[in-house]
């Protein structure tokens, strides 16, 4: 049984109790506990089930590397699946449930898989479930999926109640990791005057050293930590941040840090997580090292734990994992655990040291404490199912013949240490294999490089492969100096404090225990505890040709679990190397990818949710539209009124009403979203002649002309009315979506091609509200407002004038997209609402109505006007649309002209724009294709045209459409067929695309 010790616990405030629940059970811990330590203190070792075989799982680690202790944390809108108990700080009211079992943690039906495990080796699913074919979808896959996943999925209706944010910061030196190495590196760089940010993922500074012991300048390591912190806190150029994890290192010194602000104390105002987007000149990774498990049979049984974790629980949390702990190791560090436990009065029946020669000074110390030390020995097998009951001992050199059984309730294992090289590696840092220490460590010659090609990451301390406290501090000080120098600070020579720790005997790599373990043992020797990958699986992969470490990973899923193989990767690739008979460095590692440990989606999205998920662009009349209950459609980031339904009206009814009213008398449209670009300069005319297919330089001041713009690839990209304001000034209207795009397009050509042309462009789209006043009574209403002459003679069709209406300065364009008498009035945006209100007021006698985008679309279609995005789709050239009249024959060049000379563009078989009328007057379906005879070489039905836009016209009382049809303009009157997706076939006659007021009499009045 794990339990709380009477004394100890550096992190605990025993005076404060904290209440929480686990699987519904009410429990208490102390302030300072993690969920893991609190559960262990209550004797709750088993906390979950493994992925594949549903094996019982208990904690193996005490920190971020934990693969097993994952819980569903919280509930409802605050449910967080897969939360690591070892990094979850306990708070009052915490609720957690265990994962991946049914019906209960103790009794899990899925655990039968463990009995079939022999039939479920790595990759079994590639070899099975194929026959009969239909079974995959209906039997096999549903079954596999049912057993998938670990944590509980939040309910569909869940809405996260917390907020998140980002923070941009720029620092000279970022130090990641607040152990002694990180503290020392920060001190050195900070003293040199560099601007330093030091981050630590846990709530505690000092890392392993206070637990592991040793002295710094003659004093306990913990005192060094306190002193370092005090000094750092006093420095103006240093910022410290705990609960802040270095999540990823990216190109050009970009680093993501994940700050968990309130996970440990939910409730108060403020964000839950903050994602720091750091730009660092230099990054010091002082991320420490992670202990490796040993691979022996039954190493996954709850109660088998990393030796350092056993020590951490005892020292930091005052928790013993068992009463009798067997320590098994291949290095000296684990002796510290035995010594610590013994010092707390717990039993250590034996230390099993796989090294024939055993350990150094620590081993002597252990022996002196009366601990039995067995060298050259190994664990053949762990006894027990849901909890360790004992171990069988054998010779490490043998095949597992049991020499002895030792009763125990915990096993503390250590296979050596692996530097945390993740952040070093994220952005391309390379590793080197250190044979003496049996570890991959950063290869300082192949560091990640930044924008100037400079190395920008410096590893420090154990993260750099230095294990002894003295070396760690010296290396960290050197890293601090190097970082400070690299950012232009002037550090003094690295002076590291003097540290001392007992001498240690060298590690001897042990990748399998015992060395000659037979297949039955290897099938029970776990590498990846969460994903149930065993030694035998990796060996199988090698045998089947999955020789690349990347293949082996993907075939076995080794290292793909939520811990990303922090414990399993090195052991796995060592097994693979052995199976392939090649040295470990030749096998290499898999790729380290961000994040270091998983980070919340909420933090990644930051503030961008709800109201500020994306910008909504608002016209100066948006409030009014909202007040009217308009039905909006998103157009780019705008939301334009689609129609303004009244009462019980359907959208279609509203649209019809708006059209009828406009055509009959008076309608108004908020056209503010149309792009408005001022193009000015001596070369403005010449420039616009290149941009538009038609001639703009001949336009007279005071007049307007409709123009087309193509991409250099020849396709129609935008259209709009151009007004010439002065000799050297034009105002170009673009489509709603076009304003920014066309502005950028103009700047691009001016800056990168014709940079000697004298033209300036200004985007004044939002300076103006633009209101279209449309209908036979349009003039009357303007005249009623008074202020300027809007008569036919003074302001004819396609002219514009500056003036005042109702006392408000404005510019009036007589242009029409509806075919009606129409004025578009541009007014300073800050006055747009005032003008709108006045127009409504004086239009009341004409029963004025606002109309939305759909009415606009229908009216333009009735007139046969094309719409960018409907008649065009990025593959259409103006010639397809019968717009040859708008393509100047006189110009030598315009953007897109050369492209339009290519063979496919001049192909007479290109589909051309026509009007379409169904024979029965119904509306053609949107997007329908006209069929032709036969099928093509790929068996697809031949087609000869398609609908580009289609509406019910309230004006004509029938369906009208436009479409692109093969030889269309030559086939007037012909009836072609459009099969619908509803099973019906629609017959439509090819007609002129202008359905209404062909001679333009209405707009010209």
């Amino acid at each position: 049984m794990s339990t709380r010790l009477a004394q100890g616990g550096r992190f605990l405030n025993r005076a404060r109790k904290v209440n929480f629940t686990f699987n519904g059970q009410h429990l208490t811990g102390h302030e300072g506990d993690t969920l893991a330590s609190a559960l262990l203190a209550q004797g709750q070792m088993m906390v979950g089930r493994s992925f594949k075989y549903h094996r019982p799982r208990g904690m193996v680690a005490s920190g971020a590397e934990e693969p097993n202790a994952l819980v569903n944390l919280g509930s409802g809108n605050r449910l967080e699946p897969n939360q690591r108990a070892t990094t979850t700080e306990l708070f009052d009211g915490l609720t957690a449930t265990s994962q991946n079992h049914w019906p209960s943690l103790e009794f899990d039906v899925g655990a039968v898989n463990t009995y079939f495990s022999r039939f479920l080796p790595a990759g079994f699913y590639y070899k099975m479930f194929m026959y009969p074919r239909a079974f995959w979808k209906h039997v096999y896959e549903p079954f596999i999926r049912q057993s998938a996943g670990l944590g509980r999925a939040p309910e569909p209706h869940v809405r996260d109640e917390d907020t998140y944010e980002h923070f941009y910061a720029f620092v000279d030196v970022l130090v990641i990791g607040g152990g002694v190495a990180g503290l020392q590196a920060a001190l050195t760089a900070g003293r040199a005057g560099a601007q330093v940010l030091l981050i630590e993922q846990t709530a505690h500074w000092g890392g392993r050293a206070p637990v592991d012991g040793g002295t710094v300048d003659g004093k306990p390591a913990a005192e060094f930590v306190d002193a370092a912190l005090a000094e750092l806190r006093g420095m103006k150029n240093v910022v410290l941040r705990d609960r802040c994890m270095g999540a990823g290192v990216y190109d050009h010194g970009y680093v993501l840090a994940y700050e968990r602000i309130s996970d440990h104390a939910p409730g108060p105002a403020g964000p839950r997580h903050r994602l720091w987007r750091l730009r660092c000149k230099q990054v010091v990774t002082a991320t420490g090292a992670i202990e490796r498990p040993l691979s022996f049979a039954g190493n996954d049984i709850p109660g088998v734990m990393l030796a350092s974790a056993v020590r951490d629980y005892a020292v930091n949390y005052g928790v013993s994992i068992g009463d009798r702990t067997v320590v098994v190791t291949n290095n000296d560090d684990a002796y510290r655990t035995a010594i610590t436990l013994k010092g707390l009065g717990l039993e250590v029946p034996a230390i099993i040291d796989a090294r024939a020669g055993g350990g150094g000074a620590l081993a002597d110390e252990a022996r002196a404490l009366g601990i039995r030390v067995e060298t050259g020995k190994a664990i053949a097998k762990v006894k027990g199912a849901k909890r360790v009951e004992g171990v069988a001992i054998c010779a490490q050199a043998g095949e597992g013949a049991v020499l002895e059984e030792i009763k125990c309730d915990a096993v503390a294992m250590s296979g050596g240490w692996s530097p945390v090289v993740h952040l070093w590696s994220h952005c391309g840092g390379k590793l080197t294999w250190d044979d003496a220490q049996a570890m991959f460590r950063p290869n300082a010659d192949l560091a990640p490089t930044g924008a100037a090609g400079e190395a920008f990451v410096i590893p420090a301390g154990t993260a750099n492969g230095y294990m002894g406290l003295a070396e760690v501090l010296a290396d960290a000080a050197a890293a601090g100096v190097a970082a400070a120098k690299a950012v232009g600070a002037k550090p003094k020579k690295a002076e590291a404090p003097q540290a001392s720790t007992p001498d240690e005997a060298p590690i001897e790599p042990v990748w399998l225990m015992p060395q000659g373990a037979d297949i039955k043992l290897r099938m029970k020797a776990w590498l990846d505890f969460q994903n149930d990958v065993k030694v035998s699986d990796v060996q199988l992969a090698a045998r089947e040709g999955f020789e690349s470490v990347e293949h082996a990973k993907r075939y076995t899923t080794l290292g793909m679990a939520t811990d990303q193989g922090k414990l399993s990767n090195i052991n796995g690739l060592a097994i693979l190397s052995d199976a392939l008979g090649q040295p470990i460095p030749q096998t290499g590692t898999t790729t380290f990818r961000p994040p270091y440990t998983p980070i919340s989606m909420g933090a990644i999205a930051g503030e961008a949710r709800g109201k500020v998920f994306q910008p909504i662009r608002r016209t100066p009349l948006q409030d009014w539209h909202e007040g009217q209950g308009a039905y909006f459609e998103p157009v780019g980031h705008w939301r334009r009124p689609y129609c303004y339904p009244r009462g019980e009206e359907s959208h279609a009814q509203a649209v019809a009403r708006e059209i009828n009213q406009t055509r009959g008398s008076l309608g108004m449209l908020d056209a503010s979203t149309l792009g408005k670009l001022i193009v000015k300069g001596p070369d403005a005319g010449k420039f616009l002649d290149m941009l538009y297919t038609n001639m703009m330089s001949t336009l007279k001041p005071g007049r307007c002309r409709y123009g087309l713009m193509c991409s250099e690839n020849g396709f129609l990209m935008d259209d709009g009315v151009v007004a010439r304001i002065h000799d050297d000034t034009f105002l170009c209207h673009t489509t709603t979506g076009g304003a920014d795009r066309i502005h950028a397009h103009m700047e691009e050509w001016l800056q990168t091609e014709w940079w000697d042309w004298q033209v300036y462009v200004a985007n004044v789209t939002e300076q103006y509200g633009q209101i279209a006043v449309v209908g036979p009574d349009a003039r009357k209403v303007l005249e009623k407002l008074g202020g300027m002459d809007v008569s036919k003679d003074t302001l004819p069709f396609m002219a514009w004038a500056d003036g005042e209406l109702g006392g408000i300065a404005c510019r009036v364009y007589r242009i029409s997209f509806s075919g009606e008498l129409s004025y578009e009035i541009a007014v300073d945006a800050g006055h747009a609402r005032a003008l709108w209100d006045k127009l409504l007021e004086s239009g009341a006698e004409f029963n004025v109505m606002p109309y939305g985008t759909e009415a606009l679309h229908v009216m333009r279609a009735e007139k046969g006007f094309i719409m960018i995005g409907d008649e065009t789709d990025g593959t259409v050239i103006p010639q397809d649309l019968g717009l040859d009249w708008a393509i100047s024959k006189k110009k030598e060049d315009y953007i897109g002209k050369r492209a339009q000379e290519r063979s496919h563009m001049t192909d007479p078989r290109r589909w051309k724009l026509v009007g379409l009328e169904t024979v029965d007057g119904s509306k053609l379906p949107d997007g329908a294709y006209a069929v032709a005879d036969g099928k093509n070489a790929n068996g697809q039905r031949n087609v000869q045209g398609r609908v580009t836009s289609t509406y019910h016209s309230p004006t004509l009382g029938r369906g009208i459409a436009m479409g692109l049809v093969l030889n269309g303009p030559d086939r007037m009157g012909e009836v072609i067929e459009f099969p619908g997706t509803d099973g019906k076939t629609y017959k439509a006659r090819i007609v002129d695309p202008v359905f209404f007021d062909k001679d333009g009499e209405k707009q010209n009045v």
Partner: protein
């Protein structure tokens, strides 16, 4: 003429800093070659301020000129005076290639005030800009991206920042700044 209405009329938010709409503000976009001999003089006469250096903003009372790009400046002045100043600039620059357009209504304009460090950190949540006091101070105009839109920021003084964005996204930017200023969201990065 009616009273002009700003994009987010009278909006105010108070959290770790105060965010408020500055109301109608006169603005003119001025484009010209920087070497245009008449330019310096025209700006001096009409605005009373010197042309600022690259990325600078130079003020004269309630008027200011900000560098926007090598051939573009933004002129700030009282709303009611913009059109007249525009005309004056055009006159002063007549005969040279230039552009002067009033854009007062095309922008939204906010003031962020409070503790100096808080003001910086509220902005730093939204813009990819180094706002450390050692590297960003008054007199600098910074055009940048604010969350998902373009914006320009400067410090009027320590503890008072100004933000300009396009009018249509004024509400968005106000909401962003308010979210960034939410109570309990202090960062304490610039405090040291």
């Amino acid at each position: 003429m009616s009273e002009p209405v700003s994009a987010v009329k009278n909006a105010v938010f108070s959290g770790i800093v105060r965010v408020e709409d500055c109301g109608p503000q006169g603005m003119i976009t001025l484009r010209s070659d920087a070497s245009n001999a008449k330019l310096k003089q025209a700006v001096k006469v009409v605005i009373g301020a010197d042309l600022p250096p690259v990325r600078g903003i130079s003020a004269n009372g309630d008027r200011a000129v900000a560098w926007m790009s090598p051939d573009e400046w933004l002129i700030l002045l009282p709303y009611a005076e913009a059109r007249a100043a525009e005309a004056e600039l055009r006159k002063a620059l007549a005969g040279t290639h230039h552009l002067a357009e009033t854009v007062s209504d095309a922008r939204a304009f906010f003031r962020v005030t409070g503790d100096a460090a808080r003001v910086r950190e509220v902005l730093a949540k939204l813009v990819p800009v180094d706002l450390h006091p050692a590297r960003f101070g008054t007199g600098e105009m910074r055009r940048t991206r604010m969350a998902q839109v373009a914006a320009a920021i400067w410090l009027e003084s320590e503890g008072e920042a100004r933000v300009i964005c396009f009018r249509s996204v004024g509400a968005y930017v106000f909401d962003l700044l308010s979210a960034a200023a939410a109570n309990g969201s202090e960062v304490a990065f610039f405090d040291a």
